[in-house]
Symmetry: none
Subunit: 411 residues, 2 copies
């Protein structure tokens, strides 16, 4: 039995709702997508609910689900993925957080991003914190880009049900950290101590003395949120399916999810996760990786951003760019030897300007696939697709089965 390779392409936030400006079509229906339409003709469509019908998914929970894990059982916060995504090496019992450098004046947060402090300044401040703050557990504090940083408390995973101190708007004092159980109460106490001591170090740091003199907002306070630890999964993707798996991703959060479950992660030059990303660089990298890997996951972010920005025409254009990315891949593989799945991690309808619980159209084409009657890729056409309405966690098993890599249960 021939084993096929798998290509999973996630166009972030792909699904949408009918839009007047597009004549009642969705961006995917409006866009000119000859390659995806061709794949729809020779393949099979359906709708997938990333988590369950009507439930908006986050990017992290949606990817966990699409990679086959029940997010209600596996998800334990975003921080761990963010930390992996910025290149930290973590242990499974570490607890990680997203951090903002912020400005505190007279007990009130006056700027949640410390005047968008530069990456260089932030890294220097992070170093000072790492060297001078003393708390009862080992920690890693690392600057990411701009005002963003990551905090890791070693060995504190059990306390992941801890809240945040971010008031989420300027003019308010920091929140006290909340907790849901004894283990996270301990973490909350450590975080309060950490924030207090970091404030002392930051407030008198030469970089902030200089910013103060220049009239710039000082980066003298830390806002900590998004506690997260290693997802509670029975087995890493690569072990579970016995495949060599690679991901082509630019966004830290999604990189982190892919790393956490065993993918080798690549970010080709030019891939940014922003509107200006180089999708053809991703296509070339994917084709190259298909030589060595059994399963390649390609993530395309900007479709989601266009939904958040309520820009239907831009979303349609980005889908057309994604179509060209997919064409390059299709042109460089033998479709008999590959199973290609294309979907979104969730819907980000322009009218909602956020993730929604609408199902996401799904396309599977390649070797072994039973073609249905569908003619093009789109929300309405997917409703009559042969895959029916499935859950996000069904996608990978269906792919692996078409790839002839599943195992029989029973005799």
């Amino acid at each position: 039995m021939k084993q096929r390779k798998g290509v999973l392409i996630i166009l972030d936030g792909l699904g949408d709702r009918p839009i007047k400006e597009l004549g009642g079509k969705t961006p995917l229906e409006y866009a000119n997508t000859p390659t995806m339409d061709y794949l729809a003709k020779i393949g099979i469509l359906g709708q997938q609910d990333p988590i369950k019908p009507g439930q908006p998914a986050g990017s992290d929970t949606a990817h966990l689900s699409i990679f086959g894990y029940d997010p209600y059982k596996s998800y334990r916060g975003r921080g761990y993925f963010e930390a992996l995504g910025v290149g930290l090496e973590l242990d499974e019992d570490d607890l990680a957080f997203r951090v903002n450098f912020a400005t505190l004046e007279n007990g009130v947060i006056t700027d949640r991003r410390a005047g968008r402090i530069s990456t260089e300044e932030a890294h220097e401040l992070a170093k000072a914190i790492q060297e001078n703050v003393d708390i009862p557990v080992d920690f890693i504090f690392k600057g990411a880009t701009g005002h963003r940083a990551v905090l890791v408390l070693k060995g504190m995973a059990e306390g992941y049900k801890v809240g945040e101190n971010d008031p989420h708007e300027a003019g308010k004092p920091p929140h006290p950290f909340t907790w849901e159980d004894e283990a996270s109460k301990k973490v909350a106490e450590i975080l309060e101590e950490f924030v207090k001591k970091a404030h002392e170090v930051l407030d008198k740091h030469p970089i902030n003395e200089k910013r103060r003199k220049e009239g710039k907002p000082v980066a003298n306070y830390l806002l900590i949120r998004g506690a997260g630890t290693y997802p509670n999964i029975p087995m890493k993707f690569t072990e579970q399916w016995k495949v060599k798996a690679a991901a082509v991703v630019a966004v830290a959060l999604v990189k982190g999810v892919a790393k956490a479950i065993g993918f080798d992660v690549y970010t080709p030059k030019g891939a940014t996760g922003e509107y200006n990303t180089d999708e053809m660089a991703k296509a070339r990298k994917a084709v190259e990786l298909l030589k060595d890997y059994d399963f390649v996951f390609i993530h395309f972010k900007p479709t989601d951003a266009a939904g958040h920005d309520n820009n239907p025409k831009l979303k349609a254009e980005l889908i057309e760019r994604a179509d060209r990315m997919i064409k390059y891949i299709v042109d460089h593989v033998d479709l008999e030897d590959v199973v290609i799945a294309i979907t979104g991690d969730h819907s980000t309808p322009c009218e909602v300007m956020n993730h929604s619980g609408d199902p996401v159209p799904l396309l599977i084409a390649g070797g072994g696939v039973r073609a249905d009657y569908t003619e093009k890729f789109g929300e309405r056409e997917a409703m009559r697709g042969g895959l029916g309405r499935i859950r996000g966690h069904d996608i990978v098993p269906i792919m692996m089965d078409l790839m002839n890599r599943t195992e029989k249960f029973g005799a």
Copy 2:
């Protein structure tokens, strides 16, 4: 982001099977329903299994499921809903029962409804029981309509797994109460004592002395069944979804379910839950309530009765009356600002003359809805609908998501 309002219309027992008398159509397919057909064109259809495929649902379990609760986890008997539905104020730890006044002669139940005793006589007898029966717990005993009454044991909710003493046919002695655990064993003992003492009070009551002289069956015994307590739900509907919710209902059992989960319940003049109900009074009330409420639930009962009575043409006529009720609502709202769902709580096929486990056609139309290819509302057309085949408990999350009232899980 605009938040929409929701209208959920339940045509009780709507689903049916093909009927020779209707040329092989179902009553819904046979009926002339221009408004629902219009909504099907601009909206989306599907099939919903109230509980799960092939499983007939009761009206209480079906409504619990459609309101988003798993009835296998949440349902704890019907009595509580009946008691709420007849206007009793209950605490969450109360245990309630449906009661019949019945006739006992020589140790045998000779009439399960005591000659359909009048409401006035029954209320007088109920008063005598309330005043003269002494058992080890506080109780409320209240006459409803005709031979029907309600019993509430205060604070005894834990014992809801108690059986009944109703032999369900005349000529048999009352059953002893059964039980499934220690808490319900105690309730069974209390009920045996209650029934015995009530029998003593009733048997010598002047009303029964008079009935005996007139040759009428005496109402000297109580048949107690349908033990029920507050449903085991994580949160009331109104709290869970942060909406102000109203119900337009006439039937006690469904009223009770709606009250239990936080709805304000209205029964406009003329709404009876019988064939003679005034559906236009319901429509007007619903439109009025939409000014103040975020979510309005309208229940239409007689379609179910026509199924129980195996009267296909009457069922079709009732569906046409429901269509006019829906037209009034559609004419008085802006469909861009509202999400309307129409379905049944279960199928009541004429050939079955009872609830069946057939899936129920479902229609959703209004703002944000992705239209599918369907053209009219009916069982067969629903099979190719874009909603696919979902569960009853998916309906409200899908509505709330289109109403832009859901919250993201994950980051």
